[in-house]
């Protein structure tokens, strides 16, 4: 048979043990507040360091972007210069063609002049014959024709000089024609090889320019992506700092619980102290507990903020400017 204990002392013992438990829980809740606070502060410090690193990275990226811009400008100018050279090289065959045409026109002109020297020779010969005939006629005229004979002799000498000069001009033009024609031949031979090289150089310059533009675009895109990620990082850091404020929201929530629990424990302590000696006082305890509950719920209502707390009722405005 088990021993029966007096129900009143048993309830009193239970109540005393309950109050001890409550004190322990309250101490733990206080510890939770302290722990979350120190953890929130550590998070803020870490997030701030993260932000400082992001800022350093952003500064570095800005510098890199500026340097890349300057370098790109220089390369672009160099490539543009190479492009001008390429364009000039591309026009070179046409220029050579034009120069050759001019030289060929010169050869045609030399040939024409050469033909004219034949006419000069013919005129000289005719002048020479005319001078001989004039000298014969002057001889027949005797003393009267002596002066005319001097003129005829002079004319014959001039015809001889003209003929000699015509021969010299003819030789000179023939040499000039030979030099120009030889020059054309060698230019045409060299041009064929040079044009092949020109074509290769122009293609290389085009390729270089395209490669540079591709590379430049590639790095610009990469840099833009990195900068975007860095901006996102800074934004998220700002959001994280805001989220840490939940520690204060939770702290205040726990503080309200502790206040209600403290009042409840005081009421229970009163009950324990009465030990059935004051029935009226004991009867007031349930009313006190009801009042504590009402006050607690009213306080909670004043601090509604989360979706969980505002379900089924209109959520208060999170931000309101007056």
């Amino acid at each position: 048979m088990s021993a029966h204990r007096d129900p009143v002392p048993a309830a009193a013992e239970a109540l005393a043990a309950y109050l001890q438990l409550e004190e322990a829980i309250d101490g733990s809740l206080n510890g939770v507040i302290s722990d979350t606070e120190s953890s929130a502060r550590s998070i803020i410090q870490n997030v701030r360091r993260l932000h400082d690193s992001a800022t350093t990275l952003a500064t570095y990226l800005d510098g890199t972007s500026l340097q890349a811009g300057d370098l790109g400008k220089e390369i672009f100018e160099s490539v543009a210069f190479l492009g001008d050279i390429g364009a000039f090289i591309k026009r070179l065959p046409e220029k050579i063609e034009r120069d050759l045409s001019s030289v060929q026109a010169l050869v045609t002109e030399i040939k024409f002049l050469n033909e004219m020297t034949a006419d000069v020779k013919a005129i000289s010969l005719q002048s020479h014959l005319l001078a001989i005939n004039a000298a014969v006629e002057a001889g027949r005229a005797g003393t009267v024709g002596s002066a005319f004979k001097v003129v005829a002799d002079e004319m014959r000498r001039l015809a001889g000089t003209s003929s000699t000069m015509a021969v010299k001009i003819n030789k000179g033009l023939a040499r000039a024609q030979e030099i120009v024609e030889n020059g054309i031949e060698s230019t045409i031979k060299e041009s064929a090889a040079q044009l092949a090289e020109v074509s290769t150089a122009a293609a290389t310059i085009d390729k270089l320019q395209n490669n540079f533009e591709d590379m430049s675009q590639y790095y610009k895109t990469r840099l833009a992506i990195v900068i975007k990620h860095n901006e996102d990082l800074v934004r998220d850091i700002g959001e994280a700092l805001g989220q840490v404020q939940y520690q204060d929201v939770v702290r205040q929530s726990i503080e309200r619980i502790r206040i209600a629990a403290g009042r409840r424990n005081d009421a229970m302590r009163t009950l324990l102290l009465m030990q059935g000696e004051d029935a009226d006082e004991e009867a007031g305890v349930p009313l006190q507990l009801e009042l504590i509950l009402k006050d607690y719920l009213a306080e909670e209502q004043k601090h509604r903020h989360s979706v969980r707390q505002t379900q089924g009722s209109a959520a208060p405005l999170k931000i309101e400017l007056f």
Partner: protein, 124 residues
């Protein structure tokens, strides 16, 4: 020149969180851990461009602080924002009557905070 913002809160976590958010956004920050300390700082010559205050604090709460700060010479038009867990309309109306510029519920994100600051502090 960087604008100065005074933050008033009895929670060290809140002060630290707000200080870092605001410094990152380029503001100078003054701190006070209740309304009474904040009021003394203002009376001592501090001239912040904006005040952000908690409502429930020991010694002097935010509502009383707003009323007393508004009564100080040179603080009639400086924007004062309440940042609190209090959501009841009665407290909002009281703060508004005493000259608060706006009411923000904790927690407030960095993006929202900067948006509001830009609205009440043009050019910030």
């Amino acid at each position: 020149m960087a604008k100065t913002i005074m933050i008033v809160d009895d929670s060290s976590t809140m002060l630290m969180s707000l200080r870092n958010s605001l410094e990152i956004a380029g503001f100078k920050v003054l701190e006070a851990n209740d309304g009474s300390v904040a009021l003394k700082t203002l009376q001592g010559g501090a001239k912040p461009d904006l005040i952000i205050t908690d409502i429930n604090m020991p010694n002097m709460g935010g509502i009383e602080f707003i009323g007393k700060a508004r009564a100080l010479a040179g603080f009639r038009f400086i924007p004062i924002l309440a940042l609190t867990t209090e959501s009841q309309q009665g407290k909002r109306d009281e703060a508004k009557k005493l000259g608060a510029t706006g009411w923000l519920l904790k927690p407030v994100s960095g993006t929202d905070l900067n948006k509001i600051i830009k609205q009440v502090l043009p050019g910030a």
